[in-house]
Amino acid sequence: MTEAAVSSAPKARTTARRPDSIRLLLNNSLATGGFIVLVAVALVALAAPFLPLADPDVTAPANRLMPPFSPDHFLGTDALGRDILSRIVWGTRVSLAVGLSATVIAAFFGSLIGLVAGYAAGRVDSVLMRGIDMIMAFPYILLALAIVAVLGPGLLNALYAIAVVNIPFFARNIRGITLGLSRREFVDAARLSGKSNVQILFIEVLPNVLPVIIITMSTTIGWMILETAGLSFLGLGAQPPQADLGSMLGEGRKILFTAPHVSVVPGLMILVLVMSINLFGDGVRDVLDPRLKSGVLTRPVARTTIDRKEAPSGLKPRGDAVLDVQDLRTEFHLGGTVYKAAGGVDLHLAQGECLGVVGESGSGKSVSAMSIMGLVPSPPGRIVGGAAFLGDEDLFSLSDERIRQLRGADVSHVFQDPLSTLHPLFTIGDQLTEAILAHRRITRSQARKIAEDLLKLVRIPNPAERLKVYPHELSGGMRQRICIAMALANDAKVMIADEPTTALDVTVQAQILSLMNTLRHERNAAILFITHDFGVVSAICDRVAVMYAGKVVETGTTEEILNSPAHPYTAKLIDCVPVLGEPERRLDAIEGRPPMVNNLPQGCAFADRCPKAQADCRAAPISVTEIAEGRSVRCLHPVKEGEHV
């Protein structure tokens, strides 16, 4: 299944992450750019005393307000004739130092409060956090102003003020992480080994919250530089003759109209400094916080990308099928690895028929079913081969608009978890009428009437009332009935049901199955029923296709498959089903694990787990053999009638 394929990729990368952090950071070109600029600025600022610069504080009234690019004064001079380039370098030194110190102070006290609150929990936690909440109830800059008002203007006071108002950010972030960590086993183990609370906090917990502290620092330092510059700009920070970038900007403002460069240049320097810090900080966060790493947060587009190497000219729809999937190949491309989730799948559905698709997690059954209407998330999924015929139309060559018209009208879906598949913020009525109105030109009230009838059809009591409720107000079984009603809204010819009963209680499962069975007979709809449960198969399916490692390995009627499985895998799978009243029946799980679909063997994918495997099984791909009318198996040594594997 999709989830399995997707989640296995980051796991493989995690092991290699630690030593690669720096390389990963450098791979991010924006972060690298930010880092280079930042280092350059910092080096120049540090080297200021050794650079051949004019004295930043020496006034020269004769040279006042010289424009940029003047001889001897590359960036011009200010109102007192001081060299702006030199003042910028020295001012950057002050701004950087103040920003860094404020960050360190805020990080120290904020992290300390967060660590203690999170570790101590209970009353200490609530007292500390209420205090933090109180500080956060103030608009950020206003509180800093109030503090400066009390302490009096001055660079050091501005630094304290900015540090204090940033403490809550650290305290909150660190407290959250610490709270989670202090309930973990390694903390209990440390406590049992007799370590004191202080030891545990600083030796066991602190190293684990360090990344969060660094992330918070790297994302707040830019702010702090901006805000201290702001206070200086207002005349509340650095006082003359001391100057940081903000106070230079503030002084320049008075002569904005006559000599704009005096204020424009320091502002530009602040922008460059803060932007390089933010770029670098974002890079650091991406590396340290794996959840935000690129590729994880990709947005699936409206329809699965179709990227067939060659047009499947040889494939023609079979006459008797409403839906005919042939040689379907769907892949996931993740970080340079290709996962062949569906590797040539054939499925066909006659009118009014229910075909069960059975297999373990990761066998490709959901991916195959979701590929049909292009609902496999893409990126990373893409359909690379095969065809799916709905009547005469090949779904993979249709326009997006045509697919939209078919979705929900000719082919509808019922998904696994009815809570997450219904939109939490819209009423049942809204969601149902919307499904109807997407395909019919009728009024809203007519659609609402149809929606009410649909709810009646799926045996929901008080349908008119239920239209007004939200999904979370219903039980799981009720929600799934709603989903089925939605799938029936436009008399679909084919319903694709992806494990519709898996998330439900057993009794509710039985109700939903019998409802689906009745409705398909009433409406003569074909169902593609994906499940891993043979009990469900026997309850509703006419025919079964068994899937393994992205391929169909056996098809036949439900009775044939259940009574005389031909593929050793099917036989094993059926053996795994517990039967009431037969406790002595062996319930051995199939040994080994299914192969990863990014690394499939040349021959039979089941050979490694198969008791009947022989040398020829591994030699070459196995083709499908028809062993009876409508019954085929992908095996060189099928299980014979009565044989036990």
């Binding site: 608009p139 509340l236 939209r404 978890d417 939109h423």
Partner: protein
């Protein structure tokens, strides 16, 4: 819903009291003797003692607080010594100017931020996304007071499209078009940073939402992609963004301090800066308290809107 709003309003009362305590404490923590500071060169021992008695500074701290709070509840915030008028009158006058500026900015940053975030997410990895992401980065890294100066240079001095300062024209102004004319530059400047923050969060939130199962359901129903994005995904993303817009209200009101100074907007921000320089602490106290209370109410409004959008929170 009305019951919920009432409940939230009642829950806000202790927070508002908490604010008064903090504001009071900050002012009480002033190093040195307040009376001496106020009197400056007139600080003879008799004057200091008299002023201490007048200000109630000879009483204990809790006593002082309750006296102060009692006066506050009666609308008496003291008298500004630098302006020689009641603090409340001055603050109320200034507060409305700040609300006009901050309110406009908040509306602008919500519209632009949400729009940019949604477009960026929908065009993920495309050129539009890259450009928006970069602009957002510049936006949140730009000192707003500097940006204000640049806009004055460009639009007031060079192009002469908008006035450089003030809230109304000195001669013949005073009507709404005049106000809007004066409002454009400061409101835009003030909204830039918040726009960036909201755009970033909206983008992430949209990307998160677009991966959800219910989006797949909406597509499986055959809804047009435009509707999937604008209705299903946007509403879910908005629920996450609304609280942040509430928080941005605080940043916008705080940022108004700079912008009001740059554009000489007669709001609380510029009043505070002057009051701090003249050490008119009662005025500072009144201003801070008003803005902080407004911030609490903004956040409350954000909570209420979020609850209206999300039935699960009711």
């Amino acid at each position: 819903m009305a019951g919920y709003i009432l409940k939230r309003l009642i829950a806000a009362i202790p927070v508002l009291f908490g604010l008064t305590i903090i504001v009071f404490l900050i002012m009480a923590m002033i190093p040195g003797d307040t009376a001496t500071a106020i009197l400056g060169s007139y600080a003879t021992p008799e004057n200091v003692e008299k002023l201490n008695r007048d200000l109630g500074l000879d009483k204990s701290l809790p006593q002082q607080y309750f006296i102060w709070l009692g006066n506050l509840l009666q609308g008496d915030m003291g008298r500004s010594y630098s302006l020689n008028r009641p603090v409340l009158d001055e603050v109320v006058e200034r507060f409305s100017a700040t609300m006009i500026l901050a309110g406009t900015s908040l509306v602008l940053c919500s519209i632009f931020g949400l729009l940019a975030g949604v477009v960026s997410a929908v065009r993920q990895f495309g050129w539009t996304d890259k450009i928006i992401t970069f602009l957002v980065l510049i936006g949140i890294s730009t000192p707003s007071f500097w940006l204000g100066l640049l806009l004055i240079l460009a639009f007031a001095v060079k192009l002469q499209l908008f006035p450089a300062s003030g809230m109304f024209a000195i001669y013949g102004g005073g009507d709404l078009p005049d106000l809007i004319h004066h409002l454009v530059l400061p409101a835009l400047t003030l909204s830039v940073v918040a726009t960036g923050v909201i755009a970033r969060l909206t983008r992430t939130s949209m990307l998160e939402v677009l991966r959800q199962d219910y989006i797949r359901t909406a597509r499986a129903k055959g809804l047009a992609e435009r509707k999937v994005i604008a209705k299903h995904a946007f509403k879910a993303a908005l629920v996450n963004v609304i609280p942040v817009i509430g928080i941005q209200a605080g940043f916008v009101m705080g940022g108004a301090v700079y912008i009001e100074t740059v554009f000489q907007w007669p709001g609380i921000g510029s009043m505070l800066v002057t009051a701090i320089s003249t050490r008119d602490l009662l005025l500072v106290q009144g201003g801070v308290l008003f803005v902080a209370a407004a911030y609490v109410l903004f956040n409350l409004a954000a909570d209420v809107v979020q609850t209206m959008l999300d039935p699960r929170l009711r």
